[in-house]
């Protein structure tokens, strides 16, 4: 059984669409303040451009746990 974690940070674009930046292996001790500060910095630095335009606001952030159970392996 193998578990992987992914941090997903969702942003709102100028056009109102949602864009996600994903990071594998987030730190176990991540705090909400750290993640929101990072998202605020990404918006402030404004280096990303999407089909919906610039990132303008934070939408949400979540950590996704994914567990793989191998049933059969040849």
């Amino acid at each position: 059984m193998e578990t992987t974690q992914t941090l997903q940070m969702r942003f709102v674009t100028q056009a109102g669409t949602r864009v996600t930046i994903s990071l594998d292996n987030p730190r176990d001790d991540l705090t909400e303040a750290e993640v929101t500060a990072a998202m605020d910095q990404i918006i402030a630095k404004n280096i990303f451009s999407t089909s919906g335009g610039d990132l303008v606001a934070k939408d949400s952030a979540q950590i996704i746990d994914r567990t793989v159970n191998v049933i059969y392996e040849a």
């Binding site: 990071l23 987030p26 991540l30 993640v35 990072a38 280096i47 451009s49």
Partner: protein, 75 residues
Amino acid sequence: MAVDKIPTGTTLRLQLQTGVDENGDPVFRNKSLTNVKPEALDQDVFDVAQTLAGLQESILADVLRIDSARLEEIV
């Protein structure tokens, strides 16, 4: 004949050290973020790379900026 260079896109690549192999050599993994503005300042790209790397466990070994451009002949 002159040639024009038109930026088409920029990618930010984080080279992350995820661990070491059985010989003690570092194991790297790349995380690429496309959709970086070609006109983005190096300092800003670097700062974002460090921020992103700070959220995860691996060590940030290198920050690469890959700029692509199209060459067009001016007639």
